[in-house]
Protein backbone atom coordinates (compact mmCIF):
# COMPACT_ATOMS: atom_id res chain seq x y z
CA UNK A 1 0.00 0.00 0.00
CA UNK A 2 1.45 3.35 -0.97
CA UNK A 3 0.19 6.88 -0.39
CA UNK A 4 2.06 9.76 -2.08
CA UNK A 5 5.24 7.73 -2.27
CA UNK A 6 5.07 6.49 1.31
CA UNK A 7 4.33 2.90 2.16
CA UNK A 8 1.71 2.35 4.80
CA UNK A 9 -0.33 -0.34 6.40
CA UNK A 10 -4.11 -0.67 6.35
CA UNK A 11 -6.26 0.28 9.32
CA UNK A 12 -6.06 -2.28 12.09
CA UNK A 13 -7.63 -2.72 15.49
CA UNK A 14 -5.26 -3.51 18.35
CA UNK A 15 -6.15 -4.78 21.82
CA UNK A 16 -3.44 -4.66 24.50
CA UNK A 17 -4.04 -7.08 27.39
CA UNK A 18 -2.16 -6.63 30.64
CA UNK A 19 -2.44 -10.23 31.82
CA UNK A 20 -2.42 -13.72 30.31
CA UNK A 21 -6.03 -14.22 31.47
CA UNK A 22 -7.10 -11.07 29.66
CA UNK A 23 -5.24 -12.20 26.51
CA UNK A 24 -7.01 -15.58 26.62
CA UNK A 25 -10.40 -13.87 27.06
CA UNK A 26 -9.69 -11.69 24.03
CA UNK A 27 -8.67 -14.76 22.01
CA UNK A 28 -12.01 -16.39 22.87
CA UNK A 29 -14.21 -13.35 22.28
CA UNK A 30 -12.40 -12.30 19.08
CA UNK A 31 -11.91 -15.46 17.03
CA UNK A 32 -10.82 -13.30 14.07
CA UNK A 33 -7.92 -11.75 16.03
CA UNK A 34 -4.27 -12.82 15.93
CA UNK A 35 -1.51 -12.46 18.49
CA UNK A 36 0.96 -9.67 17.75
CA UNK A 37 4.40 -9.86 19.37
CA UNK A 38 7.15 -7.58 17.96
CA UNK A 39 5.41 -7.59 14.58
CA UNK A 40 8.50 -7.92 12.36
CA UNK A 41 6.67 -10.46 10.20
CA UNK A 42 3.07 -9.25 10.56
CA UNK A 43 3.89 -5.58 9.86
CA UNK A 44 5.85 -6.62 6.76
CA UNK A 45 2.95 -8.74 5.53
CA UNK A 46 0.47 -5.91 6.17
CA UNK A 47 2.74 -3.48 4.31
CA UNK A 48 2.96 -5.83 1.34
CA UNK A 49 -0.82 -6.30 1.36
CA UNK A 50 -0.34 -10.02 1.93
CA UNK A 51 -2.23 -10.23 5.22
CA UNK A 52 -5.98 -9.95 5.64
CA UNK A 53 -6.25 -10.05 9.44
CA UNK A 54 -7.22 -6.63 10.76
CA UNK A 55 -7.57 -7.38 14.47
CA UNK A 56 -4.58 -8.01 16.73
CA UNK A 57 -3.92 -8.81 20.37
CA UNK A 58 -0.62 -7.12 21.22
CA UNK A 59 1.06 -9.06 24.05
CA UNK A 60 3.99 -6.71 24.62
CA UNK A 61 2.71 -5.68 28.06
CA UNK A 62 3.09 -9.27 29.33
CA UNK A 63 6.57 -8.53 30.63
CA UNK A 64 7.07 -11.92 32.29
CA UNK A 65 7.30 -13.41 28.77
CA UNK A 66 10.65 -11.64 28.33
CA UNK A 67 12.58 -13.83 30.79
CA UNK A 68 15.35 -16.35 30.10
CA UNK A 69 16.45 -18.83 32.74
CA UNK A 70 18.40 -22.07 32.79
CA UNK A 71 18.68 -24.75 35.39
CA UNK A 72 20.29 -28.21 35.33
CA UNK A 73 20.98 -28.11 31.60
CA UNK A 74 17.52 -26.94 30.54
CA UNK A 75 16.74 -23.42 29.32
CA UNK A 76 13.31 -21.84 29.64
CA UNK A 77 12.78 -18.89 27.34
CA UNK A 78 9.78 -16.55 27.29
CA UNK A 79 8.04 -16.13 23.96
CA UNK A 80 8.81 -12.37 23.85
CA UNK A 81 12.58 -12.87 24.22
CA UNK A 82 14.27 -11.47 21.12
CA UNK A 83 16.55 -13.49 18.86
CA UNK A 84 19.49 -11.33 19.93
CA UNK A 85 18.75 -11.81 23.64
CA UNK A 86 18.30 -15.56 23.26
CA UNK A 87 21.46 -16.17 21.25
CA UNK A 88 23.73 -13.82 23.17
CA UNK A 89 22.56 -15.15 26.55
CA UNK A 90 22.97 -18.83 25.69
CA UNK A 91 25.85 -18.63 23.20
CA UNK A 92 28.25 -20.29 25.63
CA UNK A 93 25.89 -23.22 26.15
CA UNK A 94 24.80 -23.88 22.54
CA UNK A 95 27.42 -23.25 19.82
CA UNK A 96 24.69 -23.26 17.14
CA UNK A 97 23.64 -19.83 18.39
CA UNK A 98 27.00 -18.39 17.28
CA UNK A 99 26.31 -19.36 13.66
CA UNK A 100 22.67 -18.34 14.08
CA UNK A 101 23.75 -14.77 14.87
CA UNK A 102 26.64 -14.69 12.37
CA UNK A 103 24.36 -15.69 9.51
CA UNK A 104 21.32 -13.69 10.65
CA UNK A 105 19.84 -11.30 8.09
CA UNK A 106 20.12 -8.03 10.00
CA UNK A 107 21.27 -7.42 13.59
CA UNK A 108 18.63 -4.65 13.82
CA UNK A 109 15.87 -7.17 13.08
CA UNK A 110 17.37 -9.61 15.62
CA UNK A 111 16.87 -6.87 18.23
CA UNK A 112 13.09 -7.02 17.65
CA UNK A 113 12.10 -10.45 16.27
CA UNK A 114 10.92 -12.80 19.01
CA UNK A 115 11.37 -16.49 19.76
CA UNK A 116 7.60 -16.97 19.99
CA UNK A 117 7.03 -15.23 16.69
CA UNK A 118 9.48 -17.55 14.93
CA UNK A 119 7.88 -20.67 16.35
CA UNK A 120 4.31 -19.63 15.61
CA UNK A 121 5.24 -19.03 11.96
CA UNK A 122 6.19 -22.73 11.61
CA UNK A 123 8.13 -21.71 8.53
CA UNK A 124 11.29 -22.93 6.80
CA UNK A 125 12.51 -19.33 6.83
CA UNK A 126 12.92 -19.34 10.61
CA UNK A 127 16.49 -20.43 11.40
CA UNK A 128 15.69 -20.95 15.03
CA UNK A 129 13.35 -23.88 14.43
CA UNK A 130 15.87 -26.53 13.23
CA UNK A 131 18.15 -25.63 16.16
CA UNK A 132 15.33 -25.98 18.69
CA UNK A 133 14.20 -29.25 17.08
CA UNK A 134 17.58 -30.85 17.78
CA UNK A 135 17.40 -29.62 21.38
CA UNK A 136 14.06 -31.43 22.00
CA UNK A 137 12.21 -28.15 22.53
CA UNK A 138 8.86 -28.20 24.28
CA UNK A 139 6.30 -25.39 24.04
CA UNK A 140 4.08 -24.27 26.89
CA UNK A 141 0.76 -22.70 25.89
CA UNK A 142 -1.70 -20.92 28.16
CA UNK A 143 -5.22 -21.98 27.17
CA UNK A 144 -8.66 -21.46 28.75
CA UNK A 145 -8.43 -25.09 29.91
CA UNK A 146 -5.06 -24.58 31.58
CA UNK A 147 -1.43 -24.95 30.53
CA UNK A 148 -0.74 -27.30 27.62
CA UNK A 149 2.77 -28.56 26.93
CA UNK A 150 3.46 -29.62 23.36
CA UNK A 151 6.73 -30.91 21.86
CA UNK A 152 7.92 -28.63 19.04
CA UNK A 153 7.94 -31.62 16.65
CA UNK A 154 4.22 -32.26 17.32
CA UNK A 155 3.39 -28.55 17.02
CA UNK A 156 5.08 -28.36 13.61
CA UNK A 157 3.18 -31.43 12.47
CA UNK A 158 -0.28 -30.22 13.46
CA UNK A 159 -0.44 -27.29 15.87
CA UNK A 160 -1.86 -27.97 19.29
CA UNK A 161 -5.56 -28.08 18.58
CA UNK A 162 -7.03 -24.87 19.91
CA UNK A 163 -6.37 -21.22 20.53
CA UNK A 164 -3.85 -20.29 23.14
CA UNK A 165 -0.89 -18.12 23.98
CA UNK A 166 2.64 -19.46 23.64
CA UNK A 167 4.29 -18.54 26.94
CA UNK A 168 7.62 -20.34 27.09
CA UNK A 169 9.92 -22.64 25.14
CA UNK A 170 12.07 -25.11 27.08
CA UNK A 171 15.00 -26.94 25.57
CA UNK A 172 18.18 -28.76 26.47
CA UNK A 173 21.44 -26.88 26.59
CA UNK A 174 23.84 -28.86 24.45
CA UNK A 175 27.47 -27.92 23.82
CA UNK A 176 27.49 -30.20 20.76
CA UNK A 177 24.71 -28.47 18.82
CA UNK A 178 25.72 -26.90 15.51
CA UNK A 179 23.87 -25.04 12.78
CA UNK A 180 24.56 -23.94 9.21
CA UNK A 181 22.62 -22.56 6.29
CA UNK A 182 22.87 -21.47 2.69
CA UNK A 183 20.94 -18.33 1.79
CA UNK A 184 20.33 -15.95 -1.03
CA UNK A 185 19.75 -12.20 -1.07
CA UNK A 186 19.71 -9.43 1.48
CA UNK A 187 17.00 -11.06 3.59
CA UNK A 188 19.21 -14.12 4.06
CA UNK A 189 16.15 -16.34 3.82
CA UNK A 190 17.61 -19.84 3.94
CA UNK A 191 17.53 -21.90 0.79
CA UNK A 192 18.09 -24.65 3.30
CA UNK A 193 19.32 -24.80 6.88
CA UNK A 194 20.47 -27.77 8.92
CA UNK A 195 21.11 -28.30 12.64
CA UNK A 196 22.66 -31.28 14.44
CA UNK A 197 23.27 -32.08 18.07
CA UNK A 198 25.07 -35.00 19.64
CA UNK A 199 23.29 -36.69 22.51
CA UNK A 200 26.21 -38.96 23.46
CA UNK A 201 24.98 -42.57 23.72
CA UNK A 202 21.54 -41.38 22.69
CA UNK A 203 22.77 -40.70 19.12
CA UNK A 204 22.60 -37.58 16.99
CA UNK A 205 19.62 -35.31 16.36
CA UNK A 206 19.30 -33.95 12.83
CA UNK A 207 16.82 -31.28 11.72
CA UNK A 208 16.35 -29.39 8.49
CA UNK A 209 14.41 -26.27 7.47
CA UNK A 210 12.63 -27.93 4.53
CA UNK A 211 11.87 -31.47 5.67
CA UNK A 212 8.59 -31.67 3.74
CA UNK A 213 7.82 -28.78 1.42
CA UNK A 214 8.51 -25.68 3.49
CA UNK A 215 7.95 -27.31 6.88
CA UNK A 216 10.95 -27.83 9.16
CA UNK A 217 11.40 -31.23 10.78
CA UNK A 218 13.72 -33.85 12.22
CA UNK A 219 15.14 -36.42 9.79
CA UNK A 220 14.45 -39.77 11.44
CA UNK A 221 16.17 -41.97 8.85
CA UNK A 222 19.45 -40.11 9.19
CA UNK A 223 19.19 -40.07 12.99
CA UNK A 224 18.53 -43.84 13.03
CA UNK A 225 21.50 -44.49 10.75
CA UNK A 226 23.81 -42.36 12.89
CA UNK A 227 22.61 -44.01 16.12
CA UNK A 228 23.94 -47.38 14.92
CA UNK A 229 27.27 -46.25 13.50
CA UNK A 230 30.44 -44.72 14.87
CA UNK A 231 31.00 -41.31 13.27
CA UNK A 232 33.81 -42.17 10.82
CA UNK A 233 34.62 -40.31 7.60
CA UNK A 234 32.77 -43.01 5.65
CA UNK A 235 29.69 -42.81 7.90
CA UNK A 236 29.60 -39.02 7.49
CA UNK A 237 29.64 -39.49 3.71
CA UNK A 238 26.82 -42.06 3.85
CA UNK A 239 24.73 -39.93 6.21
CA UNK A 240 25.13 -37.00 3.81
CA UNK A 241 23.77 -39.08 0.92
CA UNK A 242 20.98 -40.44 3.09
CA UNK A 243 20.02 -36.86 3.98
CA UNK A 244 19.63 -36.01 0.29
CA UNK A 245 17.26 -38.97 -0.16
CA UNK A 246 15.29 -38.46 3.06
CA UNK A 247 13.86 -34.99 2.65
CA UNK A 248 11.32 -33.61 0.24
CA UNK A 249 11.86 -29.85 0.05
CA UNK A 250 9.72 -27.57 -2.08
CA UNK A 251 10.85 -26.02 -5.33
CA UNK A 252 10.33 -22.28 -5.57
CA UNK A 253 11.81 -19.21 -7.26
CA UNK A 254 14.87 -19.35 -5.01
CA UNK A 255 15.89 -22.98 -5.49
CA UNK A 256 14.72 -26.31 -6.85
CA UNK A 257 13.94 -29.25 -4.62
CA UNK A 258 16.93 -31.11 -6.13
CA UNK A 259 19.31 -28.26 -5.25
CA UNK A 260 17.97 -28.00 -1.70
CA UNK A 261 18.48 -31.75 -1.18
CA UNK A 262 22.05 -31.53 -2.43
CA UNK A 263 22.87 -28.55 -0.22
CA UNK A 264 21.27 -30.24 2.82
CA UNK A 265 23.63 -33.19 2.31
CA UNK A 266 26.68 -30.92 2.05
CA UNK A 267 25.72 -28.89 5.14
CA UNK A 268 25.09 -32.07 7.12
CA UNK A 269 28.51 -33.37 6.15
CA UNK A 270 30.18 -30.18 7.42
CA UNK A 271 28.23 -30.26 10.67
CA UNK A 272 28.98 -33.92 11.34
CA UNK A 273 32.65 -33.19 10.74
CA UNK A 274 32.32 -30.55 13.47
CA UNK A 275 30.92 -33.23 15.77
CA UNK A 276 33.80 -35.58 14.99
CA UNK A 277 36.26 -32.92 16.18
Amino acid sequence: MSVQGYLGIPRIEVMIPSSVEEALNLLQTHPDAEILAAGTHIITQLTLGAKRTRKYIDINNLHHLRKISHHKGVATVGSLVTHQELASTLINHVPAFTTFLQKYSSPAVANRATVGGSIMLRSAGEDLIPILLTLDAELSFATPEGVKNVPLTAFLAGGFGGRGLLQTVSFKLNGSCFFDKLWMGVSRIPLISVAVSSEGDDGVRVAVSHKDGSTPGRVATVEKFLSTHVLSEEVVEKASRLMMDSINPESDVLASSWYRRRVAGVLLKRLLQNLRR
Binding site: G39, T40, S105, P107, V186
Partner: protein, 151 residues
Protein backbone atom coordinates in the same frame (compact mmCIF):
# COMPACT_ATOMS: atom_id res chain seq x y z
CA UNK B 1 -4.39 6.08 21.04
CA UNK B 2 -1.60 7.97 22.80
CA UNK B 3 2.07 7.21 22.38
CA UNK B 4 4.48 8.72 24.87
CA UNK B 5 8.20 8.41 24.29
CA UNK B 6 11.50 10.28 24.42
CA UNK B 7 13.21 11.26 21.19
CA UNK B 8 16.75 12.59 21.59
CA UNK B 9 16.05 13.30 25.28
CA UNK B 10 12.86 15.27 24.57
CA UNK B 11 9.52 13.88 25.68
CA UNK B 12 6.79 13.58 23.06
CA UNK B 13 3.14 12.72 23.61
CA UNK B 14 1.56 11.98 20.24
CA UNK B 15 -1.90 10.87 19.18
CA UNK B 16 -1.33 7.93 16.81
CA UNK B 17 -3.45 5.45 14.87
CA UNK B 18 -2.76 1.75 15.58
CA UNK B 19 -1.56 1.28 12.00
CA UNK B 20 1.00 4.10 12.10
CA UNK B 21 4.53 2.78 12.13
CA UNK B 22 7.24 4.39 14.21
CA UNK B 23 8.95 5.55 10.98
CA UNK B 24 5.72 7.29 9.87
CA UNK B 25 5.39 9.19 13.14
CA UNK B 26 9.05 10.14 13.51
CA UNK B 27 9.43 11.42 9.98
CA UNK B 28 6.04 12.75 9.03
CA UNK B 29 4.50 13.86 12.34
CA UNK B 30 7.56 14.87 14.35
CA UNK B 31 9.83 15.98 11.51
CA UNK B 32 12.86 13.75 12.12
CA UNK B 33 13.69 13.61 8.43
CA UNK B 34 16.87 11.59 9.00
CA UNK B 35 14.51 8.61 9.39
CA UNK B 36 14.20 7.42 5.80
CA UNK B 37 11.90 4.91 4.23
CA UNK B 38 13.54 2.62 1.71
CA UNK B 39 11.99 -0.80 1.32
CA UNK B 40 9.41 -0.58 4.12
CA UNK B 41 9.83 -4.28 4.94
CA UNK B 42 12.98 -4.43 7.05
CA UNK B 43 15.53 -5.26 4.35
CA UNK B 44 17.33 -1.96 3.72
CA UNK B 45 17.63 -0.60 7.26
CA UNK B 46 17.38 3.05 6.18
CA UNK B 47 14.72 3.68 8.82
CA UNK B 48 16.96 2.50 11.67
CA UNK B 49 16.76 4.37 14.97
CA UNK B 50 18.16 3.42 18.36
CA UNK B 51 15.50 2.12 20.72
CA UNK B 52 16.85 2.16 24.27
CA UNK B 53 20.29 2.31 22.67
CA UNK B 54 19.84 -0.64 20.26
CA UNK B 55 19.34 -0.37 16.50
CA UNK B 56 15.85 -1.32 15.29
CA UNK B 57 13.99 -0.87 12.01
CA UNK B 58 11.37 1.78 12.73
CA UNK B 59 9.33 0.58 9.74
CA UNK B 60 8.85 -2.77 11.51
CA UNK B 61 7.44 -1.25 14.66
CA UNK B 62 4.07 0.31 15.36
CA UNK B 63 4.39 3.79 16.86
CA UNK B 64 2.37 3.00 19.98
CA UNK B 65 4.79 0.12 20.72
CA UNK B 66 7.52 2.72 21.35
CA UNK B 67 5.64 4.08 24.37
CA UNK B 68 7.88 4.26 27.41
CA UNK B 69 11.06 3.87 25.36
CA UNK B 70 13.99 6.14 24.51
CA UNK B 71 14.58 6.79 20.82
CA UNK B 72 17.74 8.24 19.30
CA UNK B 73 17.86 9.55 15.75
CA UNK B 74 20.90 11.01 14.04
CA UNK B 75 19.62 14.51 14.96
CA UNK B 76 20.44 13.58 18.56
CA UNK B 77 23.98 12.31 17.98
CA UNK B 78 25.94 15.53 18.41
CA UNK B 79 25.76 17.77 21.46
CA UNK B 80 24.01 20.64 19.66
CA UNK B 81 27.16 22.54 18.76
CA UNK B 82 29.64 19.82 17.85
CA UNK B 83 29.21 16.74 15.70
CA UNK B 84 29.58 13.27 17.19
CA UNK B 85 33.12 11.94 16.53
CA UNK B 86 31.67 9.36 14.13
CA UNK B 87 29.91 12.08 12.14
CA UNK B 88 33.17 14.02 11.92
CA UNK B 89 35.03 10.86 10.87
CA UNK B 90 32.48 10.23 8.11
CA UNK B 91 33.28 13.72 6.78
CA UNK B 92 37.05 13.22 7.18
CA UNK B 93 37.14 9.95 5.22
CA UNK B 94 34.57 11.07 2.64
CA UNK B 95 32.13 8.32 3.55
CA UNK B 96 29.12 10.11 2.09
CA UNK B 97 28.12 9.66 -1.51
CA UNK B 98 24.37 9.95 -2.05
CA UNK B 99 23.86 10.22 1.71
CA UNK B 100 20.58 8.35 1.91
CA UNK B 101 21.81 5.57 4.22
CA UNK B 102 24.18 7.74 6.28
CA UNK B 103 21.87 8.34 9.29
CA UNK B 104 21.28 4.59 9.63
CA UNK B 105 24.97 3.73 9.16
CA UNK B 106 25.93 6.31 11.80
CA UNK B 107 23.42 4.95 14.28
CA UNK B 108 24.47 1.29 13.96
CA UNK B 109 28.12 2.33 14.32
CA UNK B 110 27.25 4.54 17.31
CA UNK B 111 25.66 1.52 18.99
CA UNK B 112 28.75 -0.57 18.22
CA UNK B 113 31.04 2.17 19.47
CA UNK B 114 29.03 2.55 22.68
CA UNK B 115 29.01 -1.20 23.37
CA UNK B 116 32.34 -2.30 21.88
CA UNK B 117 34.66 0.59 20.97
CA UNK B 118 37.48 -1.81 20.06
CA UNK B 119 35.33 -3.89 17.67
CA UNK B 120 37.34 -5.62 14.96
CA UNK B 121 36.72 -5.49 11.21
CA UNK B 122 34.38 -8.49 11.22
CA UNK B 123 32.29 -7.01 14.02
CA UNK B 124 32.02 -3.69 12.20
CA UNK B 125 30.96 -5.50 9.03
CA UNK B 126 28.44 -7.55 10.97
CA UNK B 127 26.89 -4.41 12.46
CA UNK B 128 26.73 -2.74 9.06
CA UNK B 129 24.80 -5.70 7.69
CA UNK B 130 21.69 -3.93 9.00
CA UNK B 131 22.15 -1.14 6.44
CA UNK B 132 21.97 -1.43 2.67
CA UNK B 133 24.25 1.17 1.04
CA UNK B 134 23.67 1.22 -2.71
CA UNK B 135 26.77 3.41 -3.25
CA UNK B 136 28.94 0.74 -1.64
CA UNK B 137 30.58 3.04 0.91
CA UNK B 138 31.07 0.27 3.46
CA UNK B 139 34.87 0.40 3.32
CA UNK B 140 34.78 4.10 4.24
CA UNK B 141 32.28 3.45 7.03
CA UNK B 142 34.76 0.92 8.38
CA UNK B 143 37.60 3.40 8.04
CA UNK B 144 35.60 6.06 9.90
CA UNK B 145 34.88 3.63 12.74
CA UNK B 146 38.55 2.71 12.88
CA UNK B 147 39.56 6.37 13.11
CA UNK B 148 37.26 6.95 16.07
CA UNK B 149 38.39 3.72 17.75
CA UNK B 150 42.04 4.79 17.52
CA UNK B 151 41.38 8.01 19.47
Amino acid sequence: MKAEFMVNDVKYVVEVEPNERLSDVLRRKLGFVSVKEGCGVGDCGLCIVLLDGKPVNSCLMLAYQASGHRITTVEGMGDGTRLHPLQQAFIDVGAVQCGFCIPAALLVLKHLHDTKPDADREEVRHALRSVLCRCGSYIRFEEAFKQVSRR
